[in-house]
């Protein structure tokens, strides 16, 4: 048997036979003279040299190279057209020790995926992007790409690319190099062996950066597509060498590989036992006394609270609901939401009940807290007979009186102002409601306030406001014994 030395062999990062391919499993699906095969080889060599085959995850979106997983014996994720940079972002963040390569063509990266690549680069994601620029859509049969040269004829620019119709060729390397975050950006070509050697060095460097934990690296590769260009492989390579660099100059556009700091590693996660505390979910806390001794009185309070934004409408409702919960009642709180909260009117629906609450929407309130006149106008007629109407005004406006409801009319805002802050008008009103209806114990209200109000100063004002409200109700002769 003759002995021989292997001088050159297929990269280990390629499969021996391409079994994921339906036929011709010993060769690639690329056309003769296509640049993809060359770049695949450069990538596979770099993976071998860096010893990262197990760690590598290759992401290939739509384009001629979508089948790269036929060849690369690494982790493979095929993704949607243009979205590889977004997919790569999440893969790298989920698996920080993996080496994530996003392999994208010019239609994919520079057209439909331009937002995703821009933002991934701008965030400095710790990924490596190999960008194949052949100035055309190959897979779909030769349509214009953002990188198509001016004057170049394609199936969708049959008269040649015009700066007035399709605009100028998009210079991705230059564009991304204007961002702060990228670590390394270089444009290389496959125009001759010398250029290919340089491309190999750039690809390796871009991957090595990631192995070192650095941020975003991208290599743009000017690459021949003889089939669509309708040139033989030799002429196609000549075009890459002689014509394309006039629009897409070769060179390094960003290189911070020496000085860049490694991206910070995610901190160790907290122990699982800590999670409830982090989320402030009260797992394991005992029920409060009131909660465990469910109230035996039958309660069905349906409250509508309405006023201007900034009058504390939602907060009033929240304190009421929180206190109801503390008292062992079923509760619900439902706000109006959206722009109307920023200006104009605001309202919320609160229910406190002994029985499970069906609808949290209050359409027939038995208590209306109207913090302004428009709210009174809007909701007064909906109040159930025998219900309560608390109005924030010295007297009910003309024509607003209803004989079949209890009414407390008082300038609550002014009373709060006397206590030191007009914004506590909502709590004065709540105090009056509680006193009049005899609904909740002082304990429950205090507990609710302590849960919701963090500032000591406000806690004090709110307590006084509640007390003032109770006085108002008593003075008006409303006192549920």
């Amino acid at each position: 048997m003759a002995s021989y030395t292997v001088a050159y062999e297929k990269s280990k990062s390629f499969f021996e036979a391409y079994e994921r391919k339906a036929e011709l499993q010993h060769q690639t699906h690329y056309c003769p003279g296509c640049g993809h095969g060359i770049v695949h080889k450069l990538i596979a060599n770099a993976i071998d040299e860096l010893g990262i085959q197990d760690r590598t995850i290759l992401i290939t979106p739509v384009g001629c190279s979508v089948f790269a997983y036929y060849y690369f014996d690494t982790g493979n994720i095929q993704s949607a057209h243009g979205r590889a940079a977004a997919v790569a972002t999440a893969v790298k963040r989920a698996r920080p020790d993996s080496i994530v390569l996003s392999y994208q063509g010019d239609g994919d990266l520079a057209a439909i995926g331009s937002a995703e690549i821009l933002h991934a680069a701008n965030r400095g994601e710790g990924i490596t992007v190999i960008f194949i620029n052949n100035a055309i859509y190959g897979m779909t049969g030769g349509q214009v790409a953002p990188t198509t040269l001016l004057g170049q004829k394609t199936t969708t620019t049959p008269f040649g690319r015009s700066e007035w119709n399709e605009g100028y060729p998009l210079k991705v390397a230059e564009l991304l190099a204007s961002l702060e975050a990228p670590v390394y950006i270089e444009r290389v070509g496959l125009g001759n062996n010398k250029q290919i050697m340089q491309a190999g060095r750039a690809v390796r460097r871009a991957i090595e950066n990631q192995v070192r934990g650095l941020g975003f690296s991208l290599v743009e590769v000017l690459s021949p597509c003889p089939t669509i260009w309708k040139l033989d492989p030799v002429d196609a390579q000549r075009r890459v060498r002689e014509e394309m660099p006039k629009t897409f100059p070769l060179g390094v556009f960003r290189d911070r590989t020496k000085e860049a700091a490694a991206r910070p590693r995610p901190p160790a996660p907290p122990p699982i036992a800590e999670i409830p505390r982090i989320l402030s979910v009260a797992n394991g806390l005992p029920r409060t006394k009131a909660e465990s001794q469910r109230s035996t009185i039958q309660v069905d309070l349906r409250v509508k609270i309405a006023g201007f934004g900034g009058q504390g409408v939602l907060m009033l409702g929240e304190v009421l609901a929180e206190a109801g919960l503390d008292a062992g009642l079923e509760v619900s709180w439902l706000p109006s939401y959206g722009p109307e909260m920023r200006s104009g009117t605001s309202n919320c629906h609160v229910r406190l009940a002994s029985r499970p609450i069906d609808s949290p929407l209050v359409s027939r309130p038995n208590a209306l807290l109207a913090l302004n006149e428009p709210s009174l106008d809007k909701f007064l007629t909906s109040v159930e007979a025998g219900g309560w109407v608390l109005y924030n005004g010295a007297a009910l406006p003309d024509g607003c009186a209803r004989a079949d409801v209890h009414t407390i009319s008082e300038n609550f805002t002014q009373l709060a102002d006397e206590l030191g802050d007009s914004r506590a008008g909502n709590m004065v009103m709540l105090g009056a409601l509680l006193e009049a209806t005899g609904m909740l114990s002082g304990d429950s209200i205090r507990t609710a306030l302590e849960r919701l109000v963090k500032s000591q100063r406000w806690l004090e004002i709110d307590r006084q406001a509640l007390g003032r409200g109770r006085e108002v109700a008593r003075r008006g002769g409303f006192h549920a014994s």
């Binding site: 963040r93 995703e116 939401y337 949290p360």
Partner: protein, 359 residues
């Protein structure tokens, strides 16, 4: 354990983290933004990832990457954002990747408004992206269910390797109710199929391409078999006072809550009314509706969309029983009194007809 007054949108995030999810990618939109905001607050503290993406398109593809890498992940949006995510959802279903998507519906079409609506029913329940796929759709009607169904969504997503949508409306997202949260579970280990950048996982491939027609047909059949299995095993619905119901109301989400009040009021007026509330919108509780149609003399579907749910109820009932429809859209939610009046209007002719027949 103590119940806590919690906002619907916040309950989703807390429940997701307690279920071992540590990855959230999203994009702000009213009325779902609090979900992203809560995730931004809690995910990093829990050792997880939160990122506000450049668009919903990017966000859903980030889920694709995270799910491919084997971690539990979620996003949240509302109508217009969900429209943008549909392509990605199709890829996720095609590549059999689990994830959870919360849709807090608002008014549409187009910019519509931010008030509660249920107009996303078709685009979510029928699978709004391209190709032959379904998403499992869960419809909470309370804040407790926002928490509970989010946890269930993660389990179903893993079990079926498919996106699961928690479909709620603006009110369920914005309202507060007491919630009891479950204990925290640790993030589950990555499934064997995930691409993880390790020696063991090196041969794994995530893809939705099947170039050969026979290959794609086999893949679609396999997905179909999963959906049939879900239809057999995962249907959930709440039957509320339906035992003796002659009129069955059908509605989900906030509408179901209003309808419970309608049931009480109608029964107080002597009408034998019940409610069937689908909890899973896909798989749809067709069997339960068929069963009820044997006794019921009328169904009344109430929805915040223009008859989208109604179509599924009619398909289920197959013409055996009249299926009436009452809708409000644009952000209006009917009051119980309003629905009761409609119910009276529809029940009277029915009663009169019955008398003619029996008389």
């Amino acid at each position: 354990m103590r119940k806590q007054l919690t906002k619907g949108n916040e309950a989703i995030v807390k429940s997701a983290i307690l279920a071992g999810c540590r990855t959230f990618y999203g994009y702000p939109i009213t009325p779902a933004s609090e979900i992203a905001e809560a995730a931004a607050l809690y995910m990093p503290q829990a050792g997880g990832v939160f990122l506000q993406a450049e668009s919903e398109v990017a966000a859903i593809n980030m889920l694709y990457g995270a799910a491919a890498a084997g971690v539990r992940c979620m996003t949240a949006s509302s109508g217009p954002g969900i429209s943008l995510m549909q392509e990605g959802i199709s890829y996720l279903a095609g590549a059999e990747l689990p994830c959870v998507i919360a849709d807090i519906m608002r008014g549409g079409p187009g910019l519509g408004n931010i008030a509660p609506e249920q107009g996303d029913y078709h685009q979510v329940v029928k699978g709004g992206g391209h190709g032959n796929y379904r998403t499992i759709v869960l419809a909470p009607d309370s804040v407790q269910e926002m928490a509970g169904l989010t946890a269930l969504a993660f389990d179903l997503a893993d079990e079926y390797r498919n996106p699961v949508v928690v479909l709620a409306d603006g009110y369920i997202g914005q309202m507060m109710e007491p919630v009891e949260f479950p204990p925290a579970s640790a993030p589950r280990p990555a499934p064997g199929w995930a691409v993880q950048g390790t020696a063991e996982a090196r041969r794994n491939l995530i893809t939705s391409i099947y170039l050969e027609p026979d290959g794609l047909e086999a893949h679609v059949r396999k997905l179909d078999a999963k959906y049939r299995q879900a239809e057999e095993r995962e249907v959930r619905a709440e039957a509320w006072r339906t035992e003796d119901a002659e009129i069955v109301l059908v509605g989900y989400g906030i509408v179901a809550r209003v309808l419970k009040a309608v049931v009480e009021q109608a029964r107080a007026c002597g009408l034998a009314v019940g409610l069937l509330r689908p909890i899973t919108l896909y798989p749809f509780p067709s069997g339960e509706l068929q069963r009820l149609s044997r006794r019921a003399r009328m169904f009344l579907v109430v929805e915040l969309s223009n008859g989208q749910l109604w179509e599924d109820v009619r398909l289920a009932v197959e013409g055996r029983t009249p299926v009436e429809l009452y809708t409000r859209v644009g952000g209006n939610v009917p009051s119980a009194e309003e629905v009761l009046a409609v119910l009276w209007g529809k029940a009277r002719p029915l009663a009169e007809r019955e008398e003619l027949v029996h008389g």
